[in-house]
């Protein structure tokens, strides 16, 4: 683990290339005229790890909204390291996504968990924004964080 969990999870979210423009364009093009169901999209690392999936986005349904927005349901974003290990999973039952503006929000639930399943963060009502490649996340209500250290954590800081 290269980062402390909150940072790593957030970067996992960031890895949520979902908010990157090329990915956003792909998604937008896929659903601009019709509802898309069981949507899955994957993004890969740059060479030399171009065979490894960086981020996988899955949603049960993506529907266009006015203003170029998308209504995504049953959203799951998985972030992997360059060895294929799951780093973080982000899940929300529904969110509004602005692909070109680079934000997503929802009054609903958001859950972020580490790949090993030991730690997670969840809450209700969230807002994500990517500006100049930098990610901001806010969860506004009922935030609950659980951190379970591996048994061999050694106790060091």
């Amino acid at each position: 683990m290269k980062f402390a969990v909150p940072l790593r999870l957030a970067i996992g979210l960031l890895a949520l290339s979902l908010l990157s423009l090329p990915a956003a364009d792909n998604l937008l093009n896929a659903v601009k005229d019709l509802h898309t169901k069981s949507f899955t999209s994957e993004w890969y690392f740059d060479p030399p790890h171009e065979q490894q999936v960086n981020t996988r986005l899955t949603c049960a349904e993506a529907a266009p909204l006015p203003g170029g927005l998308l209504d995504l349901s049953a959203v799951k974003i998985e972030s992997f390291d360059d060895q294929g290990r799951l780093e973080a999973v982000v899940e929300t039952p529904r969110c509004t996504f602005a692909p070109l503006a680079g934000w997503a929000n929802s009054p609903g639930h958001l859950r972020i968990r580490s790949g090993d399943g030991l730690s997670w963060l969840e809450g209700d009502g969230f807002w994500l924004r990517r500006t100049n490649s930098l990610l901001s996340i806010s969860i506004s209500n009922h935030v609950h964080t659980v951190i379970q250290l591996p048994e061999n954590h050694g106790g060091s800081l």
Binding site: A4, G123, E151
Partner: protein, 172 residues
């Protein structure tokens, strides 16, 4: 997150105590409840706010706002700040109970030339109750090098100790 928590706990020395107390027991589990949570990658900062409540088997910490900063490089948070109605209760490896209150508690961490420096302070009418007695001051500061030789210092102490030396009691 685990490091954040360990860091936070290290403010009171609990992280080290846990290591001693639970060498091969179940993995420690920490929980943080708060109203809200903000993360800013640009500021390299995480903020928990609104009735922040942290629990683990040996520690409880309550405050209204907990800010965690990360350095540009490295994986260890560089700064923690708990604000407003800070209340800490913890039990050390020997079962001794400690209670601390303050308006603000700060923890700073850095590594310079291979030396790990930790320091912190309690301010805003801080008060620490230990099995040996009670300590107040404005502020109460502490420092530690390479995880050892904890030094406490109370400015304008109102009970126990003096203004220049560490407390005679071993707090943590």
């Amino acid at each position: 997150m685990k490091r954040i928590l360990c860091l936070l706990l290290s403010v009171t020395g609990v992280a080290g105590a846990q290591t001693n107390a639970l060498p091969d027991k179940a993995a420690p589990r920490f929980e943080i409840n708060s109203q809200g949570w903000d993360f800013s990658q640009g500021e390299r900062q995480v903020v928990y706010y609104g009735q922040v409540h942290i629990t683990d088997p040996q520690l409880r910490l309550d405050c209204e706002r907990l800010t965690v900063n990360f350095p540009p490089t490295g994986k260890h948070p560089s700064h923690l700040q708990a604000e407003t109605n800070v209340v800490m209760d913890f039990t050390d490896a020997k079962g001794a109970k400690y209670h601390a209150t303050a308006a603000k508690a700060i923890y700073d961490y850095s590594v310079v030339s291979g030396v790990t420096n930790e320091s912190g302070s309690f301010s805003g009418h801080p008060q620490i109750e230990t099995p040996q007695g009670q300590m107040t001051g404005e502020p109460i500061t502490w420092s530690r090098v390479n995880g050892q030789n904890l030094k406490l210092h109370a400015e304008h102490p109102t009970m126990g100790g003096d203004a220049t030396n560490a407390l005679p009691v071993k707090l943590f």
